[in-house]
């Protein structure tokens, strides 16, 4: 008897699975695919979750891969919307339609034990270019500086280069980590390190330093006092399809923007 029951339950599960996969198949016509920046990904997931709760029958799928992958995905139709966490180049902006969904402060983070309070943009540039190599030179304790950068192609890296490094190159001695999480782990464990990441991702285990006299806060970003700000973009090739446009409308609505603000981003305006 028990056995038979299990078999039936198993059958039932299989049937439900089959039915739902068929359901998915049908829903995928209304589904919106997002692909790109790992900096936007967590926020997009929250937005997608709320959106799907609000409008049943709509399905939004969010994938990471990086800003460049997002642009590629939007270009070749792999995704309905590409996510890009840096300003587009002139060539790219002629190729894509871009929608500013929010702005993000780029925080420069150090270990909690590091007494350094602030750095000027020039000091920051010197540190990452490898010219300043001791914390004492910028008003800290005696000890080597270990800059941590992100990998080539990361939107966070490209924004940092554009905003801080200008024409200069990041030192070849800088350690390279492939995610915000890895940068956080490293900075958390080593008082000599300095890294950068999205303001919304800093958390309590790291300290974001004052850059150019302005603390990295949402108010300072809004008032344009904090210098390191980058756009978070949705890009599409041509006009977005109706399902994608509905999602974009939600993101730009008061609700969507509020949601992004509670997650630590700065509204698009």
């Amino acid at each position: 008897m028990i056995k038979a029951k299990f078999v039936f339950r198993g059958l039932g599960v299989t049937l439900v699975a089959l039915a739902s996969s068929v359901g998915c198949e049908r829903a995928s016509r209304h589904s919106v695919g997002l692909l790109g920046s790992t900096s936007i990904q967590p926020f997009a997931e929250v937005l997608a979750e709320q959106y799907m709760k609000k409008s049943p029958g709509q399905f939004v799928e969010v994938q990471g891969g990086g800003s460049t992958a997002g642009l590629q995905g939007a270009a070749n139709g792999l995704a309905d919307i590409g996510m890009c966490s840096r300003a587009l180049t002139a060539q790219e902006s002629s190729q894509f339609a871009q929608i500013l969904i929010a702005r993000d402060g780029l925080a420069v983070v150090v270990n909690l034990e590091n007494p350094i309070v602030g750095l000027s943009l020039e000091q920051l540039r010197d540190v990452f270019a490898g010219r300043t190599t001791n914390w004492m030179e910028v008003g800290g304790r005696d000890g080597p500086i270990r800059p941590i950068t992100r990998e080539e192609g990361s939107g966070t890296r490209e924004s940092f280069v554009r905003l801080v490094m200008k024409k200069e190159r990041i030192s070849r001695r800088a350690m390279t980590q492939e995610s915000n999480g890895a940068v956080r782990e490293l900075v958390k464990g080593d008082p000599a390190t300095i890294g950068y990441m999205s303001l919304g991702l800093v958390g309590k285990e790291l300290r974001a330093v004052v850059v150019g006299g302005a603390a990295p806060t949402v108010e300072n970003v809004l008032a344009a006092r904090y210098a390191l700000v980058r756009p978070l973009l949705f890009v599409t090739r041509g006009a977005a399809n109706p399902a994608a446009q509905a999602f974009v409308d939600f993101v730009l609505s008061t609700d969507g923007q509020k949601l992004l603000e509670t997650e630590g981003l700065v509204r698009a305006e």
């Binding site: 990361s154 350690m175 390279t176 980590q177 782990e185 000599a192």
Partner: protein, 285 residues
């Protein structure tokens, strides 16, 4: 009879399709990678350590150096411990212990590399930073993690090689008055030499090809390391770090990095094959 031939044919087809996968990969990475090497210039590509894809600089010398250094370190660590293990397991341990230890060593091969990397980041890296200074993410950390990862490869092949030495060698040596240790080092290891060398080369091949664990513990800086405590980027790390984003020339340059790695590993495998062939006269291990 006809059925036999049919089954034989089907099996041959299956076997060939597996090999054709290899051929396909080879053709593909060379097709994608070679043009950029020629365009950048062979010297520039292999002998410059200036890697900055956004500016169009593609020089992989520091990554080649990184791979060589980390692999050498891993081989050194791997060989010391693997040979020790192989000797103990074949010569100096009661059968019970050997039958418990050998599967344990082989189990090491089954642990996913990301787990090695994670354990390395959480325990080894802070330890190195605390004891020796430096960032912790370093050549040393990479070498130790890889050294442990190649233990099972080197150990099990070395054990096979030592066990393949005829028992009469051992008996003859003991009969001549040599001690057990003298017999092991001067007779058995010597006779198993080629097999052990092949084992070491295969271990090196594995070390140089490992990716995930190295990315996590080696720091991935672009500069050639000046000491064991400096961070380093290997060929495999370079591909895996940047592949997700790369397009155009950058993508091709990563394939060219893959071509370099492919050639190095192929050479290592050919060396291993050649060495082990010399031992038996015709067949490989």
């Amino acid at each position: 009879m006809r059925q036999d031939r049919l089954i034989g044919g089907v099996l041959r087809l299956v076997a060939l399709s597996a090999i054709s996968g290899l051929a396909l990969i080879t053709v593909f990475i060379f097709k994608e990678g070679l043009p950029i090497i020629l365009r950048v210039g062979v010297f520039e590509f292999f002998l410059s350590s200036d890697w900055d894809p956004s500016l169009g600089h593609f020089g992989i010398l520091s990554m080649i150096g990184g791979s060589v250094v980390v692999t050498a370190g891993a081989t050194l660590i791997g060989v010391v411990f693997s040979l020790g293990l192989a000797i103990v397991l074949t010569q100096f341990s009661p059968p019970g212990l050997a039958s418990a230890l050998k599967p344990a060593v082989e189990l090491l091969a089954g642990i996913p590399s990301v787990v090695y990397g994670f354990v390395g980041v959480v325990t080894l890296v802070p330890l190195i930073r605390y004891c020796f200074g430096g960032p912790g993410l370093s050549v040393l950390a990479g070498s130790i993690v890889l050294g442990i990862m190649i233990l099972p490869t080197i150990t099990s092949i070395s054990i096979d090689a030592i066990q393949a030495v005829p028992r009469s060698y051992f008996e003859g040596s003991i009969a001549l008055g040599a001690t057990r240790w003298q017999t092991v080092t001067m007779v058995q290891l010597k006779a198993a030499r080629t097999g052990i060398v092949a084992a070491v080369i295969l271990g090196m091949g594995r070390a140089i090809g490992e990716t995930m664990a190295v990315i996590m513990v080696a720091g991935n800086a672009l500069e050639l390391p000046h000491s064991l405590l400096d961070p380093v980027r290997t060929l495999t790390s370079n591909i895996a770090l940047e592949m997700g984003y790369a397009s155009g020339d950058h993508r091709q340059a990563l394939f060219a990095t893959g071509v370099t790695l492919f050639v190095i590993i192929t050479l290592l495998n050919i060396a291993a094959l050649a060495v082990s062939r010399r031992r038996t006269g015709k067949t490989a291990v």
